[in-house]
Structures are given as structure tokens and as C-alpha cells.
């Protein structure tokens, strides 16, 4: 199991254990983490699973794809260099302990 911490916009932290191979979005949705909607189920069609990767984890989560970049342009909250669509971050053992911050709004 891989540990992921979601930090809500108001600072509330939710820590969950997720299975390897699931995405940061799926892990949030199946554990009822507020602040990630992920309505399209990970098809990069809705821009409602926006998150900011914690500075310490930026190198490990990798870079955004071009398609992801384009979808993020339409996200409801501010997009920064640490913005990712959480459906595009797949959990593997190197991400155990990952911390992501959630935007003010997704819709």
C-alpha cells in the first residue's frame, strides 16, 4: 500500500493508503477525499481532479503531458508550475508518502 496525503485548501489533511497502480485521483475518490471530483473517471476530459504536487515530491511525480497541459488550462482554480491532473499521477512505491495540495475549487 502507498500512503498519500491530501491537503485541502483550508489546510485539513487527509491521509489514505492506496494500492499500487491506482491514480491519485482514483485513490481520492474511492476514499471520499473532499476536493477531488474526477468526474470523467480519468479520461482527461473534465479538469476536476486538479492538484498541486508538494514541492518535495515534484521531481518524483514527473512532468505533465501536452494533453494534460491543455486540459489544465481550463481548470477552475489558478494553475501553477506544480499543477497536475491527479488522474495522471499513477501510484508506485517511489511515491509512498506523496503529498498533494488541493485547489480552492474544481468546478
Amino acid at each position: 500500500m502507498i500512503k498519500v496525503t491530501y491537503v485541502a485548501h483550508d489546510g485539513t489533511e487527509t491521509v489514505i493508503e492506496a494500492e499500487e497502480g491506482t491514480s491519485v485521483m482514483q485513490a481520492a475518490v474511492s476514499n471520499d477525499v473532499e476536493g477531488i471530483v474526477g468526474e470523467c473517471g480519468g479520461s482527461m476530459m473534465c479538469a476536476t481532479c486538479h492538484c498541486y504536487v508538494d514541492e518535495a515530491w515534484e521531481a518524483k511525480t514527473g512532468a505533465r503531458s501536452d494533453d494534460e497541459d491543455e486540459m489544465l488550462e481550463g481548470a477552475a482554480s489558478e494553475v501553477t508550475e506544480r499543477s497536475r491532473l491527479s488522474c495522471q499521477i499513477k501510484l508506485d512505491p517511489s511515491l509512498d508518502g506523496l503529498v498533494v495540495h488541493l485547489p480552492e475549487e474544481q468546478l
Binding site: 468526474e39 491543455e70 481550463g74 481548470a75
Partner: protein
């Protein structure tokens, strides 16, 4: 493993007039059922409908057996999968993102809503379905798409003719003749507006698709706009009428929605309760299994979102309109790659702009005879009249 049971009793008329008691029975007794009158295998539990939508390789949208192609005179993105679908979807979804809808278009939507609501007479009985829900949905969509030169009447007529054609499973010639005529009108208008949208791009879907760095073919640009016309008027119209019905027949909930400014919750509950798009079809690409039954390749399964949205496993008393549910994981916008492209527009316009504005102007609005409201539709559903007294 056996094939799913076959039902020869349920009729299309029953499904159109009052499907919910049937769905409740099917969820309990036969959540995977071949229904002869529809020619499809109906799936009525939320886990099944979601599993199908989330697996587009096995449950394909690319179904050549539907009348959608002649109705739209195109193979549209609704009926494509994978990369092909993604490219065309991306081309139009840029006009429909949360950011664009909120920041760029919000003020215009508010202004249009104000104009249409201001026209309604105070103190009289008005059918909001015909006098507000349809025309306002049409006007907003015309602007989003970049064809505001089209009249409300044209938008609504084209939309209905495209839907009638796409639903012409009896393959009769008349609906296709009517949709052909509508296609001619639309193509002519799009051609006329093309140089204007190119010269002065206005952020509309048409302008964005025309001026994209690597544009999709013109035939698909036209097809995308037509899909949006066919799929972007009836749904917000029916959603608005359904939510108004729900609130006006539950005055205590309406009072609480007002007190908490919970219009967005009312929106989500309305579309859960009676999803404007009740059912969708997917073609099975390989022999598989659903709910313990054999589903052969070539079969067409029908996900009944309407029923998934009332599934007892997810909802307590799902048959009732109740805005203040703890959770509302409804499937009214679908799931997977074909998740409704207009979801953000609908949430913003109906949920955040039109509903509060309407109740602000007519705080004592009533629906004196709820029994007079007629509900209709199997594939698409909503009230077809909404006689309210505006005060």
C-alpha cells in the same frame, strides 16, 4: 454461464410514460435484462452502468447500427472511441472548461438570463417550460457555440429534429427528411458565419475550432456544433424544469435552499432524481460477463443512468427529491471519455445563475396543480409543461 433473462412484457410506451417503478423492480429482480421492445440488454444498477462507461474498449460507442449517422449526416464524436474521439472532443471542450465558463462567459449568461426572466409577466400563470426553460437554454447555447445569429426557434427546432432523427430506430424516411432539411439550414448558416468567426474570433466553440493551431476537418467542426445543438438544449431545459418542479412541490426544501444559498445542491439533486439523459447504448466488442450473465460480442447494452441514480445501494429513498443528501454520486453526466462536455456550462448557468435569479424575481412563485405536469421520455426525460403562477 447463461444469457441474461429475456423480457417480452415491458413496452416502450411504459418506459416513456413511467419508467421508475419498472426500474425499481428490475434493480431488485433483474438488474441485467434483455428487454425485447428495446432490442437491448438493460443495466439498472449503478455499479454495472459505471463499469460499462468506464471501459470503452469493451463497451464501445462506435455503434454502426444507430440512426445517428444519417440524422447528423456525419459520423460524430458521440459515436467514436479512443484517439479519434479524443481529438474531436478536445477541439470543442476548450470552449467549455470551468475557467472559460466562469471567467469569460459568466457575465453574458447572467445578462441573457436577466433579459429572459424580465420578460415573464407577474401575477399570471405561465408555462415556464415553453416560455423560459427552452428559449433561454437555446440562447445561451447559441452564444457558447458561436452562432448567436440563429434564432431561439431555429435552435430549438434543429435540436429536436436532430434528436428525432437520431432516435429514428424504425428507420422511417420522414424523420430523416426533416433532419436533412435542418442540416441544410445549419450548414448554410455555419458557412455564412465562418469568415466572420475567423476574422474576429470571439472565444466561442466555432471560433476556437476554426482558429486552432491544428484544426480538425471542417466536416467534423460542423458535426461537433450539431452534436452540441442536439445535446445542449433539451438537457438544461429539462434539468431546469425538473429542479423547479422538485423545489415547488417541496416548499420546506425550497426555503432551506434559499436560506443556505444551496442552489448548486438543488441542481445536482434535480438531475439525479430525473436525469435528463436517462439511458445510453454501448456496443459489446468481445464476449464478456456482467452481473453473472454472459454478454456476447455484438450485443448492445443500455446503461440506465436514470435507474443507477436511484440505486438503493447508494441512496436512501432515492425515489424522492431531497436536496440535502449527505452524498450524491449521481451519473447524470455519465462517466468515462464521453462524460458530458456541457457539465460545467449546465452547472454554472442553471445551478448558479438562472435558479437564484428566478426565485429572486418571483419569490412567491407557486405550482398550484402539480398533477397537471406531464412527464415524458425513455431516452430523454423531463416535464413537458410547467404551469406556474409568478409572484
Amino acid at each position: 454461464m447463461a444469457l441474461a433473462p429475456l423480457d417480452e412484457a415491458i413496452t416502450l410506451d411504459q418506459l416513456s410514460s413511467d419508467p421508475y417503478p419498472i426500474y425499481r423492480r428490475l434493480r431488485a429482480e433483474s438488474p441485467v435484462l434483455r428487454v425485447a421492445s428495446t432490442g437491448r440488454t438493460l443495466l439498472t444498477k449503478a455499479a454495472l452502468t459505471k463499469a460499462v462507461k468506464d471501459n470503452p474498449e469493451l463497451f464501445s460507442s462506435d455503434d454502426p447500427k444507430t440512426p445517428m449517422k444519417p440524422a447528423f449526416r456525419a459520423h460524430t464524436l458521440m459515436r467514436k472511441d479512443g484517439k479519434e474521439h479524443f481529438v474531436e472532443r478536445k477541439a470543442i471542450s476548450k470552449a467549455l472548461t470551468p475557467k472559460r465558463i466562469k471567467a469569460d462567459w459568466g457575465p453574458l449568461y447572467a445578462q441573457l438570463s436577466e433579459e429572459y426572466i424580465a420578460r415573464l409577466p407577474r401575477g399570471e400563470t405561465v408555462d415556464l417550460f415553453t416560455d423560459l426553460c427552452g428559449p433561454l437554454a437555446a440562447r445561451i447555447l447559441a452564444h457558447i457555440l458561436g452562432i448567436p445569429e440563429a434564432s431561439d426557434e431555429q435552435m430549438m427546432r434543429w435540436s429536436q429534429l436532430l434528436i428525432d432523427g437520431a432516435g429514428n430506430f424504425g428507420w422511417k424516411p420522414e424523420p430523416f427528411a426533416a433532419s436533412d432539411a435542418a442540416n441544410d439550414e445549419m450548414d448554410a448558416l455555419f458557412a455564412e458565419l465562418e469568415p466572420i468567426r475567423r476574422a474576429e474570433p470571439d472565444g466561442s466553440a466555432y471560433a476556437l475550432m476554426l482558429t486552432a493551431e491544428d484544426p480538425i476537418p471542417m466536416s467534423q467542426i460542423h458535426a461537433n456544433i450539431k452534436i452540441a445543438i442536439g445535446g445542449g438544449i433539451n438537457e438544461p431545459r429539462d434539468a431546469l424544469a425538473t429542479i423547479l418542479y422538485g423545489l415547488l412541490t417541496n416548499p420546506d426544501q425550497l426555503a432551506e435552499v434559499r436560506a443556505q444559498d444551496a442552489w448548486d445542491k438543488a441542481f445536482e439533486e434535480g438531475i439525479r432524481w430525473v436525469a435528463p439523459i436517462q439511458a445510453s447504448s454501448r456496443l459489446v466488442t468481445e464476449d464478456t460477463e456482467l452481473g453473472g450473465f454472459e454478454i456476447p460480442k455484438g450485443d448492445t447494452v443500455m446503461t440506465i443512468q436514470a435507474s443507477a441514480n436511484r440505486d438503493e445501494e447508494l441512496y436512501e429513498d432515492g425515489e424522492s427529491f431531497f436536496v440535502f443528501r449527505d452524498k450524491n454520486p449521481h451519473q447524470a453526466f455519465g462517466n468515462g471519455p464521453h462524460h458530458c462536455a456541457g457539465a460545467h456550462v449546465a452547472r454554472r448557468t442553471v445551478g448558479k445563475i438562472i435558479l437564484p435569479m428566478l426565485f429572486d424575481r418571483f419569490p412567491d412563485m407557486t405550482l398550484p396543480n402539480p398533477d397537471e405536469v406531464v412527464w415524458k421520455g425513455f431516452g430523454f426525460r423531463g416535464p413537458i409543461n410547467l404551469p406556474v403562477v409568478l409572484n
